[in-house]
Each structure stands twice: as C-alpha cells, then as structure tokens.
Symmetry: C2
Subunit: 202 residues, 2 copies
C-alpha cells in the first residue's frame, strides 16, 4: 500500500458539488492499494499515518489558523467569509518584520518533526487514490495494472479506516467517497508531503 | 528527483498570508531533489510532467469549472463569492439524475487518460518539497538525509522550471517560493495523483 500524507490546515471533499467531508488541521492521506497488497499491510500503514511526527513540539490543532472554507459548520462565519479574508488581513500588515516573525513563531515555534497527528489533536481525512500505483515510466499514458480493482480494494481500504479509528478516535478519522468523482480541496501547511510505501524495506 | 503530480481545478500559494502564485486547471507538481540527483534528471522529469496524459480526450482547460478562490484576479467576482457558492448551487439541484449525469458528462466525457496538461491548455504550479525524500521506515521521526540541501537543490529546481517553460510556455509555468513557509491550497480534480521518480527503471 502507498500513502501520500499532506500536512494540512484544513480540507474538504465534495461530490457533485455537495460537501461530503471536512477536517481542520491534520493529515489528508491519499491511499493506494496494489494487486499484491493484503490486510497484513494495514497495521503498519495505520501506525505510520498516526505516529509520524509532522508538527513542531509545541503545536496543537487548536492553535492553527484554519482557512474559513474549512471551519466547522457550527461556526457562524464559516460560510460568510470569502476565501481571501485571511489573506487580506495578513497582507494588510505589509512587510513589517515583527509581524512576520510573530506569525512564524506561532507556526514554527519549537523543534520541528516532534508531534504526530494524534499528539497534535488533529484529524485524518482518508481518500482512496488508485492512481498512486500508476506506472508512468513507459510512454505518456498511465498504466494502472498494478492498482487493485474496486471491490477488493474497498475491503482493504475500509479495514484501514477502522484500524485508524481504533488506534486514535473514530470521530477524528474522516473518509472521502470511495470510487466517486471527488473534488478534494486542501491547504497544505508548509508544504509538508510524505510518501509512505509498505513495500519499502527497513 | 521525485514529483507528486496533482490534477487540479485551481491552486494558490500564499506566504505570510500574501498571494504569491495562482493557477487555474492544470497540475500542482511538488518537486523533491535527492543528494544523488544531477541536472541529467531534469529533461526526463520535465517531459513526464508536460506529457503524462491525465485528462479526457475532449477536455479543455476553459471547460473546467474553476472554484472562485482560484479565478484570475481580472474576474470581477473572484474575491466576492464565498467558497461554498458553487457547492450551494449544485446541492440545490438535489439528487436529480439528469443534473448529475450532465455534470459527469461535462467533466468525464470522452475516454480518460488522453490529454496532457499541454494538450489541455492548462497551467503547471511547481512547489519545491524536500520532504518527498523523507525516510520514514524506521521510527516515527522523518529522516531527511537523502534530501539535497537548499542552495544546491535550488539550482536544479530552477533549471527544471526553465526546462518546463522551454517545453511548453513560460507564462504557463508558475512557481511557489523556494525554501519559504507556504500555504499551498488546491482542489484536486478526481482526485488524480501521480508519483514520478526518475530513479525508477523502465
């Protein structure tokens, strides 16, 4: 199995324009399953997703400024602010070094690579992504022969979701819409993008 | 070199809340450079980015509905619509199969994996991402020893940008902010995410 982990300030999944999932600070995990994979890959992959240290030692999910489109729906301003509101606010501060440093301190304070998503108190949005096993070394058309087909892949994918929930908290693990055409929107924080492959040797 | 290609409807890069780059439909390419890489990797990687067929045979960049936050600044509504406007509009159509199929036809009409970003008439946003060479198989803290350091990596990264521009059009190739803390926002269309690695054998 492969996973692309993106450290995000927030993310959403829409299908046919309808919101199906939303998270605040945490990880968007694109999940690819190959024809050679079995349920044996689930535990090590779930552990890597939950335990890999992507945040700074003193960061907490509640400290991270969430772009308005990813705010929880209970927030009264979540659907009223234009997406550029945060931008405008920060941009209006100009180039003043104090402001910049203060923000950098808030975001980057403490040693990096010290806290996992669990330690951060963040969320995980999993999205199935069969294209991670695309073979592209020959020609220009991706070859998907190594990607496991829908029904078999879904069994393994859903077992991974359950294992993530068991290892952390079921209400912190969100899902896209397996096999559907999705719009996956996110704000990658850094950016920080980590590639996991259970076939890689220690 | 490694690249994570995401097929997007649009994307932005902000640094300290300030917009530094924006694209419409095309590719966000996260670029990782290892200590073993040389300029020899640039041509094959640039060719893969420009020529890999990620869109359907009849798709054009101008047909793809761009989320408002990624619209060009010349558009009068670009910064006025809340991020949920497209969602609300589509959601109000309910579950009517005609509407859903019409949209699917618009998005997915024709055979898939037929058009490259060049054939689509799309844009490419490159963002340097040293974490793509993170080693994660041992322990929980990513090990970045295989990632090439800043100054040397920047030379190769900028040569890649130039090669992409030479191979397509310089005004269609956008950049993030090398080495800066960025917010990389995007809407992945599908999602479609492709992993490229120049060390992979044919």
């Amino acid at each position: 199995m492969r996973a692309v982990l993106q450290r995000v300030k927030g993310a959403t999944v829409h299908v046919d324009g309808k919101l199906v999932s939303k998270i605040g600070p945490g990880i968007v995990a694109l999940i690819g399953i190959s024809t050679e994979d079995t349920v044996a890959e689930i535990v090590p992959l779930a552990n890597k997703i939950l335990n890999t240290k992507l945040w700074n030692e003193n960061q907490q999910a509640t400290q991270i400024l969430v772009p308005p489109q990813y705010e929880p729906e209970s927030s009264p301003t979540a659907n009223e602010d234009p997406p550029s509101s945060t931008t405008s606010l920060a941009a209006s501060n100009g180039e003043a070094p104090e402001t910049t440093n203060a923000r950098a301190e808030q975001v980057w304070g403490g040693k990096p690579w010290k806290r996992s998503v669990v330690e951060l108190g963040g969320e995980v949005l999993c999205v199935s992504q069969f294209t991670l096993f695309a073979r592209t070394v020959k020609g220009t058309k991706p070859d998907f022969h190594r990607a496991m087909g829908g029904d078999s892949a879904k069994v393994i994918y859903e077992a991974l979701l359950k294992k993530l929930g068991d290892g952390y908290a079921h209400d912190r693990i969100k899902d896209g819409a397996f096999g559907e055409m999705m719009d996956v929107s996110l704000t990658n924080d850094g950016p920080v993008t980590i590639l996991l492959d259970t076939a890689e040797k220690k």
